[in-house]
Subunit: 389 residues, 2 copies
């Protein structure tokens, strides 16, 4: 169970004919409120933000955070598609709003897939009645929605986190073009917690900062990234921080699932950066290591070439004093005091062959810290991305 | 002919046993001045700069730009090697200085190869007498030096530019870990122009800014990047701008050779960015496109997926108004006014299959412009970098 596990939500997913393959490509999640409800979202920082991103942003403002539905299509990003793309996003919201008998601006729209391709909006409109009549609160309805939002993902990503008197469900899709702020990724979260739109937005912002925004696959920030949360208000009002904690746990779980299923990935690495002069420097240095093609290619080869890690730290722009830096793979310290620390290289290579590895970098300067989740870079990524048609 | 083509230079190259393969790994270029001579260099901005970089920087200052020799070893970067690494760099300069009968600080030292490995300085010291006795001004001497500085390069890179009454010769090595400011790259240039150290440094700085600093292979800035120029003063005093122009032409030629021979590369692309609000924004946007793994993977596949180009421009941080942006592959406009421009996709795909392609991006906002040279990202890069031992 994922998005339909909390009380007050229905979902559906189907094939609308957007994908040439005939695979599912249209999903809907709807709040059925019995009292106060709310919605919030965070969006890509890309200035070429897609039409659905712009429309969803507008609708959240127009309704004061009282949106009741999210419609997601995969197979077409409806990005950099001009006025026709904007009209297609509006038409999608209108069709769903009419079918649900809610205002058009109570509908959020997300799209994911190829950039620069026009959405076959007639197919979306034709599919909406079936999409709405297919809504349900069962596990299979949530799964159908989670399936329909996928692009190059190999399987669906779902999560459920239980709070005290409320729960948070979620689904997400990856799988490449993933960078902090945010990723070619969409996530839809649901909660039956009773919460005002402003509080929901704040909690979501913090949850995303510590999860999706600390995930990098290829450093590319897409035109469509969106994380939406809908709250039905059917459960309790959570205590201070409780909802944020549950949202953060759900986002972190989904972010890890995205990394593990990223295009062509064989290995996930967590880069733990400590000892920076401040947190911003820590993020800068951690990202430099996590996004380095040389570090990532070493990870693919399970090659303990720590020199590349030190080099990226030095080139990152973060405050850096070589003699203070310490680098470890897992529990094994390999670099300190400006020079290699004697270690069992074969043992480290075996450690690096695991599906999940940890790289610890301490700059030895202060209390700034950050963790970034990344993946290796192997031929699979190239296979996946070298040709789109 | 390259570094020995200008008057007043000798060079040599040999195998000193630094590389396990037994390939040439030690090179020397020496100025034989008959009057005023000069030297200048630009170095990596990496804060983990290698011991030879730190020593060369010190020696240039100590001599007021009157250095007379450059010794280069390949097979070991002597980077992040602590006090022992610093001693090894000093010992190298001392051995060469003694053999040439010049002050130790008149010798510049460059190293390239694996990071974090200690230089077998005893082998370097043992080889220096033969290195010095092998010095000569013939084409074969320049070639031997150019050969001995290579690491993963598939062939040597040399250049000769003729000025009015002077010439500029040069050699360089690539081939990965290449990013603006600068690259895992070393270049040694020679000129018989008569020029003061300060003027030489200024001319070199401008030449590097428009060539090596506009080359990116993987966005990784190494610990060892160095461009050195030696001037023998045996020729004329060039007119204003003449020496800079010749140095710039030599650097641009070498930068292109590095890109074309970069690790695993099948294709070189020039990203021409115009219409930015200022040049710094133009560089930011051009680099975002040039360093994007998704754009580079598309280049490998000769896939005209212009949506990724637009997305990177939007995510670059440069001032950006989607409706003003224009993108062309070669002569073919593919995106303008916020939407795709109808074009012959197959023709563009054929254009992208060429060894050198041009991508034009106009932001439509102002007069800022920049060009960045990049490469595709294919399985060859991963093969080359996934394991170092």
């Amino acid at each position: 169970m994922s998005v339909t596990a909390p009380q007050g939500f229905r979902a559906s997913g189907m094939a609308a004919g957007i994908k040439e393959s005939g695979a599912p490509d249209l999903a809907l999640v709807v709040t059925d409120p019995s009292g106060p409800f709310a919605a919030a979202a965070t969006f890509t920082t890309n200035r070429a933000a897609a039409a659905p991103v712009q429309l969803s942003r507008t609708n959240l403002v127009a309704t004061g955070g009282r949106c009741r539905a999210v419609v997601v299509n995969s197979g077409c990003a409806n990005a950099v598609t001009g006025a026709r793309g904007e009209a297609a996003a509006r038409a999608t919201a209108a069709a769903v709003g009419d079918a649900l008998d809610v205002a058009h601006d109570a509908v959020l729209v997300c799209s994911t897939g190829l950039i620069g391709i026009h959405l076959p909006v007639d197919r979306v409109e034709a599919a909406v009645p079936a999409l709405v009549s297919g809504l349900g609160s069962g596990r299979e309805h949530a799964a159908a929605a989670a399936e329909a939002i996928l692009t190059t993902d190999s399987h669906r990503k779902e999560v459920l986190v239980e709070g005290a008197g409320f729960s948070v469900g979620g689904m997400a899709k990856g799988a490449g073009m993933i960078a902090p702020n945010m990723a070619t990724m969409l996530a839809v979260l649901t909660t039956d917690a009773r919460v005002a739109p402003d509080s929901l937005a704040t909690a979501l912002g913090h949850a995303v900062a510590g999860s999706f925004n600390e995930l990098t696959v290829d450093g590319c920030t897409s035109t469509n990234d969106t994380v939406v949360v809908l709250a039905s208000g059917q459960g309790v009002t959570p205590g201070a921080g409780e909802l944020e904690e549950a949202l953060a746990a759900a986002c972190a779980d989904l972010a890890f699932q995205l990394a593990a299923d990223a295009e062509g990935t064989t290995r996930v690495a967590r880069v733990h950066l400590s000892g920076a002069t401040h947190d911003a420097d820590a993020r800068l240095a951690a990202r430099a290591v996590a996004e380095s093609n040389l570090v990532k290619t070493s990870l693919y080869g399970a090659d303990p070439y720590w020199g590349r890690v030190v080099s990226e730290l030095g080139a990152s722009g973060a405050a850096f004093v070589l003699d203070r830096v310490r680098v470890s793979y897992g529990q094994t310290l390999v670099f300190a005091a400006g020079d290699e620390v004697a270690h069992d290289r074969d043992a480290v290579a075996r450690y690096l062959a695991a599906p999940v590895v940890e790289i610890f970098c301490d700059l030895g300067l202060g209390g700034g810290a950050a963790t970034v989740l990344t993946t290796d870079l192997g031929p699979g990524y190239i296979e996946e991305n070298m040709r789109t048609s």
